[in-house]
Each structure stands twice: as C-alpha cells, then as structure tokens.
Symmetry: C2
Subunit: 187 residues, 2 copies
C-alpha cells in the first residue's frame, strides 16, 4: 500500500479527535495521538504536518471537487445553479461521516483559533468558486456575489446538518438552503 | 474635550497608517506612531489598546449602525431588504473617508494576519445581522442565509468601492450589488 496500511490515516484521525475532545486541542500532543493509535510519532508525521492538519487536511480535496462541480455544470446553468452543482459534488464525501463530522465540529467550536482557521477555509473556497465562475464567463461582481452567497449556503446548511439530532442527507440540506436563498434574496 | 483634542485620534490614525504603508504593520512600533503624530506613547494608549486596534477600532460602531439599520427597516421589508437597510445605514460613515479606506485596505492586503482579522470581523457582523433578523421574526435558516448573502454584498461592494480608480458613492455600490444578487440568486 505504499505509505502503510490503508486505515493508518483514519486510525490517527480517530485517535486525534478523541483526544482533542477529552483534553482540548491545545492540551493534546502528537506523541499522545500516536500512542493512542498504537503508532509512532514518525508515522503521524508521514500523514500530517501537524496536529491542526488532522482537522483541515481534507480542505484541498473539498476545494478540488467543489471547483470541478462548478466547472462541469451545464452551460445553461445560472451562476448560482453552477455553485449549487459544486455543492452537490462535494456532498457525497460527507456520506457516512456524520458522526466524525459532529466530533470535529465540537473540537472546532471549543477553540477560537480553530474557528478562525475554519473561516479562512471558507474564504479560500469562496475565492476558488469565484475564479471557477469567471472561467465559465460570469462577469464581476456577479461571480463574487454568487460565490459568496453560495458559500453562505454551504456554511448554513452544513451547520444544520452537523448539529441536527439525527443524521440526514447533506445534499438535500444544500438543495433546501438554495431554495430558501432564492426566496430570501429574490424578493 | 474630556479625552484630549478632538483630532488627536485621527492624527494617531493617520500617522499609524502612513507608517504601516512605509515599514509594514509588523515593522512599526507604537513609539514610532506616537513620535510621527508628535504625541506620547501614553496618549496612543489612551485611544487604542494596541496597534491593530487602529485598523479595527471602528468595528463596534459599524456593527451598531448595521444592526440598528436592520431593526429599523419597515415591518413589510423582506429579510434581504432589511439587510439592505442595514448596509444603507452604514454607508454614510465611509463618506469622505475613501482615501483613508484605500490606505487601510492596502495595509491589510499586505498582511495575512490582518486579512484573517478582517474575515473574523465580517463573520461577527454576519452573526449580529442574523440575530437582528431573528428579532424581526425571521425564521432559520432564512435569517442566517439572508445575513450571509447580505454580508457577501457588503464585502464585494466595499472591495469594488475601495479598489476603484475613482471615488464613488458607496451606498450606490451596495444597491447595485443587491440588485445583482437578486438576479444571480433568484433564478
């Protein structure tokens, strides 16, 4: 398997998030994460640059799928429909990860520095979507406005999904929030 | 005048921003700001907690006017119209401050840490607007979605205004961007 067993990464992720919830993000060391996972520190650093990357390492994949989804939307799609296609493309990566996403969110909600990192992640995604819309020929400021509103949908719908008492379909939450945005912003 | 001459604050602000542009934000000390303004460090600290507050000290006033503007919108206003009323209420504080706003923006664009602070400011404003919409009886997720889209308008229109080669009317930029959002998000 090249860089170790296929589940090494997820073992490290699970151990890290358990410890962040028990001891706080600041109060956890890489040595403790590795020990909890039954692995060495060296193995940890083969997968993650630092303990924050355990929480944000998925951002690059998310951005890639989002941008591809926007680019691949039908030529007839309006700007906001193209952004909706991007969100529809990323929803499946959260399938089967609701429980992990809830724990990750609890870790982030407990730490202002991680909340700032999450805001930066969203702003980076908004820039990438703006660029993808421009490449579809959408003029400014329509591209920026559609990207900002669309990432607002991502943020609000994701929060609804991750904080709800029961697991639900994230793609549906995205669709419903776009429908609400249409009503809210279109009047 | 209680806490010194009425223009002491703006003298300090001007001196600080000049130095941030010349030497970078990191490379400037409070002692240098005070000296450039012909004042003492002690006077600086009577107005600002630290050198970052020179750039972000206006956030509280901005948030206050924004929230009041949302609250005071006519009862018949839709959620996004209420947010637009909030933005219309803040536009006048930037009247006559275009040149200063451009310099401030140049300082922020040169420093990733200040850019993060700006993102946090926008997120804080979005939360305050969400709360103001809820108090108008707007249900969730409509309140959050309208606030996020509205702050997207604030961000995009402000950037257009501050980066344009000529001074223009910020209130008009806000109105035009809301009109574009309606087209972009309503289809």
């Amino acid at each position: 398997m090249g860089r170790g067993e296929p589940n090494t990464r997820s073992r490290l992720e699970r151990a890290a998030i358990e410890l962040y919830l028990e001891r706080g993000f600041e109060g956890t060391t890489v040595a403790e994460i590795a020990a909890r996972a039954g692995l060495t520190e060296r193995t940890f650093f083969r997968y993650f640059a630092d303990k924050r990357e355990v929480l944000f390492g998925g951002s690059a994949e998310l951005q890639c799928l989002l941008v591809e989804g926007v680019a691949d939307a039908p030529a007839t799609a309006s700007p906001i429909e193209a952004v909706a296609a991007g969100l529809a493309a990323v929803a499946p990566i959260f399938d089967g990860r609701w429980s992990g996403a809830r724990k990750r969110q609890a870790v982030i909600n407990a730490n202002p520095e991680l909340q700032e990192r999450e805001l930066i992640k969203l702003a980076t995604l908004a820039s990438a979507v703006t660029e993808a819309l421009r490449e579809r020929g959408v003029a400014e400021p329509a591209a920026s406005l559609a990207a900002q509103a669309g990432l607002g949908v991502f943020h609000v719908a994701f929060q609804l999904w991750v904080t709800a008492p029961r697991k639900s379909d994230l793609a549906r939450r995205f669709e419903e929030s776009f429908a609400t945005l249409r009503i809210v912003a279109g009047s």
